[in-house]
Symmetry: C2
Subunit: 158 residues, 2 copies
DNA sequence: CCTAAGAAGTTGAATTCTGAACCAAGTGTG
DNA sequence: CACACTTGGTTCAGAATTCAACTTCTTAGG
């Protein structure tokens, strides 16, 4: 009597879709990183800058920023230290909760963001957005949104 | 006279699609990593194992493996060293080109692969494939394939 | 042949990332 | 109020990654 459940392997089509997805993923990340390099920024740096620049007062609590970027507190702490040394952000105390800190975009950080953003958008267009039809893009969003929701609800679980 | 070209910012829809894509990307990577952890493997480890196990004689030249996984030679070298220490692969000399080395799956590597693969497939299904309809999956593949081709042709360029 | 150029890999130092341990400050409960 | 518990964040040590030499072997030219 078979107790082990037979593995539900991926069909050829599924396999192919999955691999394509993985490939795009990796190559796109790689390319974005390359396109950011001339400006002395990494993908991580840029993501922090985006998050801060879109927040009220260009500031975010460390833990919110960590959650938003799906990084560990530890990693974010290091990351912000580096960006602080680069003059892009600074840490500021939180009045209402004295354990807390804000990461705040500096003037230089803001300028950097304004300078780099157009190039980054161009890069995103060139290597992704503009290669998809409007319909394909809409489909992509609709297909991926439930996946995103699923994964968001799954944080930290097995 | 304006010499600078106005930036072609992303529309709301484009922005949303792009962010969803990025989010799925990050969360999915994270989740795959977590699901592999109980087996003592990382995503990188697993990818190497997949590549090797699908190759003739369960072996690949170091540089081919590096190209296939989009890693630098250096990184792959370190990675293989680690996996060698874990008994998953071994290095073997190449007869026809004495500079060359093969990374070869060991018996233990093969067994590990056989043990882990079903769980990994289940994970891929649970967090991605099974959340998409067959049609969505086909669309995804068709949409992403040109992106993959574009990026493949772009390796290393600005 | 002999040499220069290039390809295959490795190595080592500097940087980044991870995970656990830690400190300090807020929260809630009897 | 005092206690334990949680939350916000940093720090340290160990592991992984990057980057720039460096070694060995191959190949192409003269």
């Amino acid at each position: 009597m078979e107790t082990e459940t037979a593995t539900n392997w991926l069909s050829d089509d599924e396999q192919c879709a999955w691999r394509t997805y993985l490939d795009v993923n990796r190559m796109l990340t790689y390319q974005m990183e390359k396109d950011l390099q001339p400006f002395g920024l990494t993908n991580n740096d840029y993501e922090i800058l985006v998050n801060l620049s879109e927040s009220a007062d260009r500031r975010m609590r460390m833990s919110d920023l960590a959650a938003a970027t799906l990084q560990s507190k530890s990693r974010l702490s290091h990351q912000i230290t580096r960006m602080e040394n680069a003059g892009l952000v600074r840490r500021e105390n939180c009045e209402s909760d004295r354990r807390g800190l804000f990461a705040v975009l500096t003037e230089h950080g803001t300028e950097t963001m304004e300078k780099v953003a157009p190039h980054h958008v161009a890069s995103v267009r060139r290597h992704f957005i503009d290669l998809l039809s409007g319909e394909a893009l809409a489909d992509l969003r609709e297909s991926l949104a439930p996946v995103a929701d699923h994964l968001r609800g799954h944080r930290g679980k097995i």
